[in-house]
Amino acid sequence: MSVRNFLLILAITSVISFTMAQTASIFAGQHVWYNLNASGSDVPCEKCHADVAAEMNVLTGPHTGETGYGQFKCEYCHRFPPIWRRNQTFENYTYASVNGSDVIPGKEAHAASTVPCMYCHSGDKYGVKHANAANYDCWSMCHQDPSQNPNGRPAHEGRYTNNEDCRRCHANAHTGDVYYIPPAGGFGLTTNASDTGKNASHLSFVLSAIENETMKDANEACIACHTKMRVEIWFNVTTEAKITVNNSYTQSYSYWDVEEITPSNYTTYKEVKGE
């Protein structure tokens, strides 16, 4: 072995020996734990869902500040509270939570779930519930009292006790009034008996969305129209009808009898929303 090779091996060995003493974690910050001891969700959803947070800032509309009291918190929808006025086919979930010494393990979901839009929008009440009451103390003045709520329980089972949370959903700073959450009527999916949906053009879309398991319930249909999501639609439409007409007759009378009307000659075209 030459002196040159010996020195080279020595140098490499030294570098290896030096660096071996440093141990790097595979993910930095993985041992800095969030404190879950406060009420509500303490893990910032935006950390992983910055794109969603950015989307929520694009427009001021439903859920995004149209009430004048700020955007919805993630948990309003994704850790949804018990709602009395809803179509009871929707289940309440138990999410994992820590509130002081009160630890609740999750059942159907841990941190969050995707929510059917109709969970909140399938009731039968709408419009102003309390005029000029937007700035009242919702919880302490009224809704912690079971007798003040339709189901004889504290509102939302006591999930929300501060006014800010109440107002973001139920109040409107511009009118000063307190509202019911509006049902998405017209598809026969709310608890209102007069909501038949029998004339709704988009009924089959909504019902098919419910059948489709890509998203919860009818959400595909809801967000297709009510959000800026890009939607590609393939319409298959009839361009022709076959009409069979028979000149029927008796001994004294003849009349044109339309025996059949059948749609035919279907053609398909694409529509893209959001481009």
Partner: protein, 403 residues
């Protein structure tokens, strides 16, 4: 060895990439959390975003292009409650959420409707109870369109004529009629009536197919759906008896005696066509079909046949006998080629005066055949057996001789 090293590098590279990118979380559908504000007055969700095609159709439409989507599809005249979010409040829909598919008669029924300052006129006859009288030729189509329930209400019938929706008709008729006129001392009697087997004729009204392309009224042409009838009628060439070879309509009568007639009102050569003779009193086939028979202009101060006292939509179901009977309808009809009010020739008298009653006792589709065949035979006293083929055929026989 080199391959192994290359694979090792690729593996390490892909694994690193996965490790690096797996910390990013993507939403299933981008922009699903950007909600459209629906709190403004009227509809805030742009229908055209998903229905560009419909907008393009309306841009090529003679009617309705000045209406908004909401004018028709959120029409409130039916009592339907649509979802709306005007202002801070909201109204949940009941029968419909964003839109409904309207019946054409929702706006064009009754006495018509005003929509945003524009008047939707009523569709005559079809706006009446049970779609009006049975003399309205297209009433069965409207009734059955409702019964078949393919679209909403009667819309298929409306679309068939008023839009570029294509229609493939199959018309079924007896292939021919056979009948015998017997001349006796009491007049003529009709006997030995037989019908041929059912003959099907296909007529394709071929259009772009788009149902939101509404036609101008002068674009609705009878012959588009009834080319079989026009084919039978459009034979001006004379037969050996100097009558015409047309069936379905006749305008040239007899040989050379005093009863020779040439009624310009029904003259098929007076309509512009491939057989036209250069004097075009009728602007087009549709005008000929309607003014000469199926929707004539009637004189309001004259005595007119009862059938024309009824309201019909596009055309009346009539035969020759509705106008040419023993009643005097003096100056009852506008004869366009003559440019004057005109009186239908009275029909049969003397030895012929039982013909009307005999023919009128037969089904409507046979009545005119008795007229046309007799005229084509050239025999005023043409008792004998006739065989007349139905549309689109125009062939007729009198005692086995083609006439």
């Amino acid at each position: 060895m080199r391959q192994t090293i290359a694979l090792a590098f690729i593996f390490v590279g892909v694994a690193s990439l996965i490790l690096f990118t797996s910390t990013d979380v993507f939403t299933l559908f981008a922009r699903q959390h950007t909600f459209v504000n629906i709190s403004f007055a009227e509809n805030d969700i742009n229908c055209v975003d998903c229905h560009h095609r419909i907008q393009n159709e309306l841009n090529n439409s003679a009617f309705h292009k000045n209406l908004s989507c909401e004018d028709c599809h959120r029409f409130t005249g039916t009592g339907i409650t649509f979802a709306s979010g005007d202002g801070a409040s909201a109204t949940p829909g009941k029968e419909a959420h964003a839109a409904y598919t309207p019946r054409c008669l929702d706006c064009h029924g009754g006495n018509g409707t005003w929509i945003n300052g524009k008047f939707a006129p009523p569709a005559p006859a079809f706006n009446e109870t049970d779609y009006g009288s049975d003399v309205s030729a297209h009433k069965p189509l409207v009734k059955q369109a409702l019964a078949f329930n393919l679209s909403v209400g009667e819309n298929e019938a409306c679309l068939a004529c008023h839009t570029n929706y294509s229609i493939n008709f199959e018309f079924k008729r007896p292939r021919y009629f056979v009948f015998t006129w017997n001349k006796g001392s009491g007049g003529f009697t009709l006997s030995n009536i037989n019908y041929g087997d059912t003959n099907s004729t296909n007529v394709l009204k071929f259009e772009s197919g788009w149902k939101h392309e509404f036609k101008a009224l002068n674009q609705i042409r009878c012959e588009d759906c009834h080319s079989d009838i026009w084919q039978a009628a459009n034979h001006p060439e004379p037969n050996n008896n100097r009558s015409t070879k047309a069936s379905h309509v006749c305008w040239k009568w007899y040989k050379t005696d005093s009863h020779h007639g040439n009624n310009p009102m029904h003259n098929v050569t007076y309509v512009y066509s491939e057989y036209g003779i250069g004097i075009y009193h009728y602007d087009n086939i549709t005008e000929y079909c309607t003014l000469s028979c199926h929707k004539p202009r009637v004189n309001p101060s004259a005595t007119i046949p009862d059938v024309f006292k009824e309201t019909a939509h596009a055309a009346y179901r009539v035969s020759c006998y509705h106008c040419h009977n023993n009643t005097d309808y003096t100056n009852a009809f506008w004869n366009k080629p003559k440019n004057s009010w005109d009186t239908p020739r009275f029909t049969h008298s003397g030895g012929h005066d039982t013909i009307d009653d005999e023919a009128l006792s037969q089904p409507l589709f046979l009545q005119a055949e008795t007229c046309i065949s007799c005229k084509r035979s050239g025999d005023r006293w043409g008792d004998g057996t006739y065989k007349t083929y139905t549309e689109p055929n125009n062939t007729m026989y009198y005692d086995s001789s083609q006439i």
